[in-house]
Symmetry: C2
Subunit: 349 residues, 2 copies
């Protein structure tokens, strides 16, 4: 058994604006250490467990960026001509994998912009999940919650299928703080990491049941795709007809074959400056450049592409300087950065 790694590189990049933006979303940035998030993700998926040929789901316009970063990696790009969320993208990947290896069609669907600091533990979790996936389960990876985070979805475990694998009782949207505390306190909930392992054929079956319009549109887009050496460019007109929804909504919340493998893999989605600061702190990486001066200031995150930064008398503040933009934020208001990014999208400077 081998598993085809499918990397989703479709993020819009507004939560770490201005560093990350629609031209250069965060998977193409070296946010933790010297390699980009995409490069780190690829490295993590180069393991015996996985097929050495990676599938990249990405906007067609970003094919060149991906080629540059994956020069040394055997890969094929599945080019999305427009954004249709994760369900449609996953269908395209499933169609490709089923076509390539109909007898051995497990695929691991992983976002390109997540941090996993314990790759060994991650590989073990994937192994654990693979038997269930071969038995027709659509397996997600649950993260033991470290805090009552309101920025993540939660998964409630049900009975055990096999050692360390559980049926899913319910998927829960991002909760309010009180609910998040209850979830954590119950011991029955994990964070929804957005990483999936499943059989391509089983996934296509479930999509046929729950979202036939998506399946039909993507099938047509795939059939009419323009194929070159390293790119399968999905047909725009057909793909545009697909409804836009997430894998969670389309399948996971409806199927009776949802399973979860709770795990401790040092995961973060780096979905905010708060989490970027937290991950850097955990990894004992500096949270500001050496040239920055902090006076009577603690727990501050500084990122700058040049200008020298000084902070006086402030705690828990982020200062981001990038391409002539300066963002100063209360790290506890990190979720609001998206709103600022949206303002600038509407009226670019």
């Amino acid at each position: 058994m081998t598993i085809t790694p499918v990397i989703m590189s479709g993020g819009a990049g507004s939560r770490l604006w201005p560093m990350s933006n629609s031209q250069t979303p965060k998977q193409f940035l070296p946010l933790i250490g010297e390699h980009t998030m995409l490069e780190e993700t690829v490295t993590r998926l180069k393991a015996d467990l996985f097929d050495p040929k990676m599938v990249l789901l990405a906007g067609t316009s970003q094919a060149d960026l991906i080629r540059t970063q994956l020069a040394d990696t055997n890969h094929i790009i599945l080019g999305e001509p427009c954004r249709r969320n994760t369900a449609a993208a996953a269908v395209a990947a499933a169609l490709y994998v089923r076509e390539q290896s109909p007898e051995d069609d497990l695929l691991l669907l992983a976002p390109a912009d997540h941090v996993i600091t314990f790759p060994g533990a991650f590989h073990k979790a994937v192994e654990k999940a693979s038997e269930a996936a071969q038995n027709g389960y659509i397996v997600t990876f649950g993260i033991y919650p470290e805090s009552p985070e309101t920025g993540y979805g939660y998964i409630k475990r049900s009975e055990s299928i096999s050692e360390g694998v559980f049926k899913v009782e319910a998927f829960k949207e991002k909760p309010d703080e009180e609910t998040a505390i209850q979830y954590c306190d119950s011991g029955e909930f994990d964070w929804n990491s957005g990483i999936f392992l499943f059989s391509a054929d089983k996934f296509i079956q479930e999509m046929a049941r729950f979202e036939p319009k998506i399946l039909e549109a993507v099938k047509e887009a795939y059939a009419k795709a323009v194929k070159t050496r390293d790119l399968i460019a999905l047909d725009e007109e057909a793909f545009e007809h697909s409804p836009s929804t997430s894998i969670d909504y389309a399948v996971m919340e409806r199927t009776d074959k949802a399973a979860v493998v709770p795990c401790n893999i040092g995961w973060s989605d780096l979905g905010s400056y708060r989490s970027l600061f937290d991950v850097r702190t955990k990894l004992e990486l500096p949270s500001h450049p050496e040239t920055a001066e902090l006076l009577n200031s603690i727990d501050c995150l500084v990122v700058s592409d040049g200008p020298q930064v000084n902070i006086v008398g402030l705690d828990n503040v982020g200062v981001i300087v990038d391409q002539g933009r300066v963002l100063v934020l209360n790290l506890d208001a990190s979720q609001d950065v998206k709103k600022i990014a949206d303002i600038h999208k509407k009226s670019p400077a």
Copy 2:
């Protein structure tokens, strides 16, 4: 009677770093409106009360900056070859004024970088002070305290000499907060504005009594000065020998001829980003450029020489972007900016 305006333009400029610095101290910046502080000061001193020829006390190296800003003003620059604080500078001005008009030798000594938003009230206060000055008093202008500010010196009033003019009972250094509250509450104290009115001859007499070394050194520097059309460059070797101390220490705290005119002239020394924000707010000037985006943020000061600034979820914060430097500060820690400026003075980028 006319009064010679003497503008002290010798500030080192570290309290509003990085906007203001030793190359371009704050008197040369347009901090309030479109004119520089120096230009505003000059405009304020163009009044019937004053001699139309202004005297500028400034570092010799800044003569060109002054010439540019005072192109339309009749002026002479008294060039200080090195910093020797206000007492030595005031002696040089007094020597010049006594030489020019021995019979009518009152001079108004005013810093170049203060805000006075009620110039009419200021002129009336100067008129009030001039009779006392003609009678040999060295008059300071006291500002009715708006708040128990710990960044200013205070002056305690004694008995009245004439309508609105008081003998000084004591000068007090920058107090701690508790003491400042007592001062304000007593109703007997005013802020020390650092603006003076006196007879040149009387001032020289008092300096002869209290600080003969300063007087001798400056007399020699003045006698040996190199004079050109608009510049009297004090002799460096002689001037260097002068002790360095303030007018307050040298004369005001010792003489029995100290007087104060308490007044309400809309004064600020703009000595911190806190006061820059306060003055802009009082004058209903914007506290940030139109291009700045503030989200869930109030009472923030933004100054930028180009880069676009965004603030998320922070109150009472200043963001200053100037020549490749970014300063982010708690406005209540404004006094600490000097320390950051000092760090950079020691190790320039």
